[in-house]
């Protein structure tokens, strides 16, 4: 896999400090994850010195018109806001550690209830307001408590937040209601991006309007044509990139133009014909053609996210018995998924967390395809085959429904294949994946058995699967929540890791509330001259991007 040398090299370039051992490990991991699908010739673009100037055209999947930062849990939003907003901390995928960004130093007390951030001096928002301790406090307050007058809800990853004290101009001290081992990580999320205090004074419509959101990031809003394009211009005085970023100053590019290509069919062609420099959502069927044309297929692993899962809701009662859920878990042939509807850019899930996420534990032995086991588990649970091959119990058929957004290009075909696989064990899957209209209601409907999704897990698995209103299971499982609480409260790092492992086992194996599919990855197509890397949340880093001349 020659292709990953390039990627590993690029990653290495990003790192300035760190042990060689870690580096090698990271390179190995990247290799393991499998890179370019085409396996063809790699373009020579990714070498040499960065080129100043130019406009990068980036094709997003669908236009959005609500950029309210706290709810930046969609890629379309996060991919733009990532370049507009800075965060207190940055997750460095190579070392797997948080590194300083707007906070030059950060630390927590022993029991993870109090955190201190040293704020970098001389940082300003694009509207001229200084990014000082007061501004950070204003942001943290909104993250932790929401903003009622602008109908902004608290950020789920900040549920333990109590208050912030401005110690001096450059220092804040955050008090939590209860211990939270994941609090620091949550400050690295795009949804925790810092905005100008003036932005926070706007009403909901104002704070949703990208033209009015003022951040301290390397790019600022320039212009917009609704539903067609969004133009970001570089901020010439930017000088506060994350510590590990190779480019510590202003972006190389002058401008980034975000366009939209909802039609999957056109994405590969857009890159191949040079009409865009970067496109998100390249489908597996087109990867080979893009690589063969000398362009790049760039899988951006979603380390900050859970794996792609079918999260189980037990509201309809059909999946209330965990044996049934375990049967369905065993009834998925993940290798066939990869071979048929995915590609080498994708890695089969080994747990509910990404292989490279801190605390990942490999459960692949428990995830082997075993239709016989699935059938006997279903028999044990009392579901017997009916006349039409679909199992029945108490006059109810084992018909289950899946919902998902159309954000992922592979999720619908994946469930089409799972539907075929489950047919063999006598389960009928009604595939409503990628139907956004259905999702609008199904998201909140506990009777819809599966939600096909992947979620940002900055605050750990607790906020994703814990609360009663969590959209994965729509159910607060008491045992799980005890586990989540213990994990958050764990002060000792080894103990914390052990509990994170236990959470994964509970979710995937014992309770089987998350049928895991493949590690989250966003596959980008890039023109041969484009040099770009991605955050651990799969967002393109435009600040460090450049285009080869010619």
């Amino acid at each position: 896999m020659a292709t990953n040398d390039k990627k590993a090299r690029a990653r290495r370039g990003v790192r300035r400090t760190g042990a060689a051992a870690l580096l090698t490990a990271a390179a190995l991991l990247l290799t393991a994850c499998g890179g370019n699908a085409g396996g063809g010739a790699q373009p020579a673009a990714n070498s040499g010195e960065p080129v100043q100037g130019g406009t990068l055209v980036f094709a997003e999947v669908t236009p959005i018109n609500n950029f309210q930062t706290q709810s930046a849990r969609f890629y379309e939003k996060a991919n733009v806001l990532n370049s507009v907003l800075d965060r207190l901390t940055y997750f460095d995928a190579v070392s797997g550690k948080l590194v300083p960004w707007i906070a030059t130093k950060f630390s927590g007390n022993e029991d993870n209830t109090e955190f201190t951030f040293d704020i970098r001096p001389d940082v300003t928002f694009s509207d001229g307001t200084p990014l000082d301790a007061e501004a950070v406090k204003a942001n943290l307050d909104v993250l932790g408590k929401g903003l009622e007058k602008a109908q902004i809800q608290p950020n789920v990853d900040f549920s333990a937040y109590e208050s912030t004290e401005v110690v001096d101009e450059d220092t804040v001290k955050v008090q939590l209601k209860s211990a939270d081992a994941n609090f620091l990580r949550a400050t690295s999320s795009v949804a925790a991006g810092l905005v100008s205090p003036k932005t926070l004074e706007l009403d909901n419509a104002g704070q949703s309007d990208i033209a009015k959101i003022s951040g301290s990031g390397p790019f600022v809003f320039e212009s917009e044509k609704p539903d067609e394009e969004l133009v970001l211009a570089k901020r010439a005085d930017y000088a506060w990139a994350p510590e590990t970023a190779e480019n510590q100053g202003a972006a190389y590019l002058d401008k980034v133009v975000v366009k939209y290509l909802p039609e999957v069919a056109h994405r590969a062609g857009a890159v191949q014909s040079g009409q865009v420099d970067l496109v998100r959502g390249l489908q597996p069927a087109d990867e080979a053609a893009v690589a063969a044309g000398g362009n790049q297929v760039l899988p951006a692993p979603g380390i900050d996210l859970t794996a792609n899962v079918a999260a189980v809701r037990i509201g309809s009662g059909k999946l209330a018995d965990q044996k049934v859920r375990q049967a369905l878990q065993a009834g998925i042939d993940r290798q066939a998924l990869k071979d048929t509807v995915l590609s080498d850019s994708y890695e089969i899930a080994g747990s509910v967390l990404n292989h490279k996420a801190p605390g990942f534990v490999d459960l692949s032995a428990d995830l082997a395809y075993d239709p016989e086991k699935a059938k006997s588990l279903l028999d044990e649970a009392g579901w017997v085959a009916g006349a039409d091959g679909v199992r029945e119990k108490d006059g109810k058929k084992l018909e289950v429904t899946v919902t998902s957004s159309n954000n992922s290009v592979v999720i619908k075909p994946a469930f089409e294949l799972i539907e075929q696989q489950w047919r063999e064990i006598g389960v009928k899957l009604i595939n409503r994946a990628a139907d956004n209209t259905f999702l609008a209601t199904a998201l909140q409907d506990p009777e819809v058995e599966f939600f096909g999704t992947r979620q940002f897990a900055y605050g750990g698995l607790g906020p994703v699967f814990g609360p009663e209103t969590n959209t994965q299971t729509l159910n607060a499982d008491e045992e799980l929540n005890e586990l989540f609480a213990a994990e958050r409260a764990a002060a000792d790092e080894a103990k914390h890791e052990e509990l994170v492992a236990e959470e994964q086992r509970a979710l995937v194996v014992e309770k089987a509330l998350a049928l895991v599919l493949w590690d989250e990855v966003q596959v980008y197509g890039a023109h041969s001259g484009t040099n770009i890397e991605f955050t651990s949340g799969t967002a393109p880093i435009f600040q460090g991007a450049w285009k080869a001349e010619g």
Partner: protein, 291 residues
Amino acid sequence: MTLHLENPAAASAAQITTAPAATRRRPSARIGLWLTALPLILVLGWALFPGLFTTADPIAGVGAEKFLAPSAQHWFGTDHLGRDIYARVVHGTSQTLLTAGLAVLIGLVAGTIIGLIAATAGRAADAVTMRLVDVLLAVPGFLISLIVVTAFQPGPISLGVGVGIASIASFARVVRSEVLRVRNLDFVEAAFLSGGTYGSVVLRHILPNATGPVLSLLAVDLGAAILAISGLGFLGFGAPPPTPEWGLLISEGRQYLGSAWWMTSLPGLVIVAAVVLLAGFGRQLLKIFRF
């Protein structure tokens, strides 16, 4: 897609016989009728006995055979899961015709009632019902379809109802104008004068004599409904997989246009052919029934 409304439907119902001073030659009309009807009978065969026309499984694919181009073995090629597309077209016919048929039925029944009332029940009724038709025309049909399909889940029934509501207006208009025409014919006047009740005259004389254009519209509208449903599928409002349906085949296959052109193009050609044939069939019917 065709957005239905009165669109080609209503218009071509009353199709051109042909150019100036055309004379109607019945024998040739018969031949034309059979030329259009025979392929349609084949399609009907697909709908009723799909197993006679293909042995491939339309819903279970062979992963290793994905994205195969058309060949002797797979006439229309295979899709992303290795399913035979010709088999999916054949097996999708019944669902397609049922959904479109329901749409047309709704248009026909509701439209006939409205049109009949408008034309026969006096001026006030005419004004009221025609305003109703105006409202149906003023609210874009596809929006009605979208709302109906969203409100209930997409499936043959909701799609049929959604598209059907949108076609009521064109039926109402055709029926009204036909009935007005027939009503003024001498024998109808005579029937009224000779003491026929309203109901009996309508049923015995007016409706039977107005059937030509309505039947013709029926055929055309069936085609339009197929297109409308495929358009809804394209916008993401189609019935869930794996059930094959013509419109869904083109709208789902389009994703692979760059790498597997056959997935959307061949079912597309089947739809075009069917819709053109239905329009032609409608025209033939009109020729035969007109007097």
